[in-house]
């Protein structure tokens, strides 16, 4: 029978055979080490995408994988995003565990049919006869002078698609834990990597194969006066803003890192909203119909009676992301300053 394999890919105990510091590594090294571990642990895992082999990925996430695993498991595909995702789906249906890389999230549009109409609907449309365990990795996000086509944050399109899961790690530890969870998940997972974080964010990474469950948010810091709910690079910007505003005003700010955009950890969101009564949702993406909009609506519907202020959003303007020239890029990009301004208003409300 044709069916996808069970997700049993697991990582061996050591994550870093190359002798780097195991307790602290960059975001990109955490992803690379995890990918290498699962490639070593399970022959069914294959990586496919543009430039993933000879070049080792344009961000060097799969550097040296071709040499270690061979060109039948590390596939330099033609420049064809729909073909990449479509063939990944077919591979999963016939016993492999594919990890497809879309070089930049900006270029995923040609694969939307394969993602939204095929991968995401396969289980539902076949009444559970088929399922589609693929992982799609894609760098996203701005602030790296990537201009209009190497900076976009279009995750909301996928959050709007039933049948998909969407995760965005903000730390090296979560990069590993979420990737391991995505690889073991029986449904298609879009794993988004903020490209500005690849080499600017370091942190401890546990060895071993402990997963970070999909759909569970992370409490970044505990607080009592207001809550910031965010994900990705904005977790770091929000932390800067919260530290500054706390020092200025003495307010105690809680920060929640969503980690999974789909499924959303509704309980964590609502528990914090009910506790602090003041919620600021931050996203780097365009504001209309964004993840921030969804979180704000959820809080409004389910925690209204607990609120001491309107739910606020800080998001990118309704302008194409994002201009190339540094002053224009800075004007577009959400950062700690803008988050701090909103947070001060919220705290003072």
């Amino acid at each position: 029978m044709v069916q996808a394999p069970e997700r049993t890919a697991s990582a061996p105990a050591t994550t870093d055979p190359d002798g780097r510091d195991e307790t602290s590594m960059t975001f990109v090294d955490a992803i690379q080490g995890t990918l290498r571990d699962v490639m070593r642990a399970d022959d069914r895992v294959v990586i496919l995408g543009e430039d993933v082999g000879r070049r080792g990925g344009v961000f060097r996430v799969t550097a040296d994988f071709l040499e270690e695993f061979g060109d039948d498991r590390v596939i330099d595909t033609p420049l064809a995003e729909s073909g990449i995702i479509g063939s990944a789906i077919g591979m999963a249906l016939n016993g492999l565990l594919p990890i497809a890389e879309i070089q930049f999230l900006d270029f995923i549009a040609p694969a939307m049919d394969q993602i939204m109409n095929e991968a995401a609907r396969l289980r539902y449309r076949s009444n559970n006869d088929f399922h589609c365990p693929i992982v799609i990795r894609a760098p996203f996000g701005g602030g790296v002078h990537g201009a209009l086509y190497h900076s976009q944050s279009i995750e909301a399109m996928f959050v709007h698609t039933p049948g998909l899961k969407v995760v965005v790690p903000a730390t090296p530890a979560d990069a590993r834990g979420l990737l391991l969870a995505a690889l073991r998940d029986e449904d298609p997972v879009l794993y988004l990597e903020h490209k500005k974080m690849y080499r600017s964010i370091r942190g401890p990474v546990p060895a071993g194969d402990e997963i970070v469950p999909l759909g569970v948010a992370r409490l970044v810091r505990e607080g009592t006066d207001a809550t910031i709910i965010t994900y990705g690079l904005m977790v770091h910007e929000a932390t800067l803003a919260a530290t500054a505003v706390s020092e200025e005003t003495g307010a105690s700010i809680e920060i929640i890192d969503l980690r999974s955009l789909k499924p959303l950890d509704e309980r964590a969101i609502l528990d914090s909203a009910r506790k602090t009564g003041k919620v600021l949702v931050v996203t780097e993406a365009n504001r209309p119909c964004s993840v921030a909009s969804e979180v704000a609506a959820l809080v409004g519907e389910e925690a209204f009676a607990y609120l001491d202020a309107p739910v606020m959003r800080v998001a990118a303007p309704d302008v194409p992301a994002m201009p190339f020239s540094p002053p224009l890029e800075q004007a577009f990009m959400v950062g700690a300053g803008q988050i701090g301004t909103a947070l001060r208003r919220l705290v003072a409300f």
Binding site: M1, G70, D72, S87, G95, L96, R123, N127
Partner: protein, 376 residues
Amino acid sequence: MATEPIVAPDHAIQRAFQPGAALANGASDPDDLGPVPIADPLTATVAPASIGDAGLPAETLRQMYQALVRARSLDQRIWQMNRIGQAPFVVSGQGHEAAQIGAAFALDRERDVLVPYYRDLALCLAWGLTPADMMLSVLARAADPTSGGRQMPGHYGSSRLRIISGSSVVATQLPIATGVAYAAKLRGTGQVTIVTFGEGASSEGDFHEACNFAGIHRLPMIFFCENNQYAISVPQSLQLAIDHVADRAAGYGFPGVVVDGDDLLAVYHAVAAAVAQARKGDGPTLLEAKVYRYTPHSSDDDDRAYRDQDEVKARRARDPVRLFETRLRDLGLLDDEAIAAIQRDINREIDDATEAAEAAPLPDPATYDRHVYAGG
């Protein structure tokens, strides 16, 4: 039908597979790449001599005939059910049956993988779905094995039978089929994957992306184009600037073959050759069967707006089911009595399937949100 699981949790990865060796093989000799032109289907004669080439036992020929009649009869019944208001939407493959049955019999239906499209009733029947399965789908019953009443009829699928579930989006099945074939090659399963589509699908980017990938990796698969000359209303002349979809194969480094899709045995031979090539590791074939669709695109279409009905009449006169029947009569394999008996059995099977589906329960509305994700 016996099935063998193709997922082996502890399988060893096969490393015999060398991408990039695309043109190193004799099978891709430039002389082999061109399409085989056929005569105008309206005037072509069917040479009874090709029976002699079949090398097929009489019993197989009779099974092919039985499969043809079964598909045609079921298809007609489903269409009638729509016309009398019993089935809200149906799609027909009438006119395509010989091409589909010829293809099905050339593959190993207990091992190979089928990635069909919505016009493949005959192919999917021959592959193991039953009239009872089809009727459950047509009437959107809970027990519909292809989708539990979730998809429109014509969206076939069965993991047990290795028929990959499809969507309504044209051509998305093609890259998926290349992935299935890639996995078969990497895992060394020996499977051949056949993916089917109309000539309209050959205009989609996914057709190009799939053929290109299959050519580069010399995947064990067959691109089977059922060219019925119309993509809903748009004639072939506005779909391609060339005569044959198969001509495009040259651009992907593998053979393209044109075959008269009304001639079941011609299709059988062409597909059998493509299967043999794929099975021994010599890569894909783009096979184009020239067929004609007897019905409108779907039960919601009216082809009088775009097709000369004299053309439809002329093509119906060259009915592939009757052509094959005549051949078997000429060979002494069928007579009036045998034909009547086959038809009688099939009618009974379809009656039973219809009655069973009518009596089967509709899905429980409470189940509408099940199976979006695992465990749900």
